[in-house]
């Protein structure tokens, strides 16, 4: 009995119906947190002593990069669950997670490049952190491409799940790159095991933005998963009833 929820989670219909109730809340919370964090970070946090105002990009750059990485875990773990337990929904989540992760990785690369220009004097360097993030971007694109490269859906799911799993070796490299190869990219400013190297007046809006991006990610993933479910289950009676009631 204790495992009922696990099996229910595997039911596309259950997921679709439950998430209908969650979505308005999730969207509102994400937008409020992102608005508060942005206004705080852009207008009310003090300017950085060394970088001036350009550092305000941190409030979107760091959360986007966090979620680009966390999104990869979610994609790889759903791939693994799909391979091991053959859960229907997990491959759907894998499919949904890839484009969202690709977009967030692009946002972190783009904001990093624009931040680099006034700070480092260049848009791009082949620094270890930046290069490993670029590899992450290509891994996401690779998973997306593999999903459309096969006639059989089963083969596409398996191939993309394997690529997602193999690609996880890149994740610890990204985390550790700023410590192993200390070149241009600055090391982490928020630390969980020791004191952060960021002033509280700058840290609180950053934390709000990080939470905001997590909620945004969850919302985007649920939305995309629902779209995939509607496409996959279009022959099911509950989808037909839903369409007729709409």
């Amino acid at each position: 009995m204790a495992w009922t929820w696990f099996h229910q989670l595997g039911s596309p219909r259950w997921f679709y119906e439950k998430s209908t109730a969650w979505l308005p809340w999730l969207i509102s919370i994400a937008l409020i947190l992102l608005a508060v964090g942005s206004i705080w970070g852009l207008g009310f946090a003090p300017a950085d002593a060394k970088q001036g105002n350009s550092y305000r990009i941190i409030y979107i750059h760091v959360p986007a990069a966090f979620l680009a990485l966390a999104g990869y875990y979610i994609m790889a773990i759903s791939g693994a669950i799909g391979m091991i337990w053959r859960m229907k929904v997990s491959f759907v989540v894998l499919r949904a997670a890839a484009p969202i992760g690709a977009i967030l990785t692009f946002v972190s690369l783009f904001t990093g490049a624009v931040w680099g220009k006034p700070t480092w004097g260049t848009w791009w360097v082949w620094d270890a952190r930046i290069t490993s993030m670029l590899i992450l971007f290509f891994l996401y694109l690779g998973v997306m491409a593999l999903q459309n490269a096969f006639e059989s859906e089963d083969a596409a799911n398996k191939a993309s799940a394997i690529l997602a799993l193999v690609g996880t070796v890149n994740i610890p490299i990204i985390y550790k790159s700023v410590d192993w190869w200390y070149t241009l990219h600055q090391p982490a400013t928020i630390k969980f095991t020791e004191a952060s190297t960021i002033d509280p007046s700058m840290k609180y809006p950053l934390l709000i933005m990080v939470i905001g991006f997590y909620v945004l990610y969850a919302t985007a993933l649920i939305l995309k998963t629902r779209t995939e479910i509607l496409q996959k289950e279009r022959k099911a009676k509950w989808v037909k009833d839903l369409a007729l009631a709409s």
Binding site: I27, L34, S38, L42, G43, F44, A45, P46, A47, G52, N53, S54, R56, I57, I60, H61, A64, I100, I103, L104, F106, V107, F110, T111, V114, W115, K117, P118, S201, L216, T219, A220, L223, K224, R226, T227, L230, Q231, R234, V239, K240, L242, A243, L244, S246
Partner: protein
């Protein structure tokens, strides 16, 4: 906590860093908007097309000739 800029034009200029900062926020919020709006629009479109298909299928199965012509016209 107070507003860090003397006036609005300084806020937009950010001592020369304004263009860099604002373009980042613009691109990010376009991406966020896309992540939220695109799937909602796709879902609406899918449900609409399923509804049409289902209405056609139902009216073709029923004996009422009026609804058949009506559904055919909507295609």
């Amino acid at each position: 906590m107070q507003f860090q800029f003397d006036n609005l034009s300084e806020f937009f200029n950010m001592a020369g860093h304004g263009p860099y900062v604002w373009v980042c926020y613009l691109v990010t919020f376009i991406a966020i908007g896309y992540l939220l709006i695109a799937p909602i629009r796709t879902q609406k479109k899918l449900l609409k097309s399923y509804k049409r298909q289902e209405q056609v299928a139902q009216s073709e199965n029923s004996d009422a000739p009026a609804s058949v012509t009506e559904a055919k016209q909507s295609w």
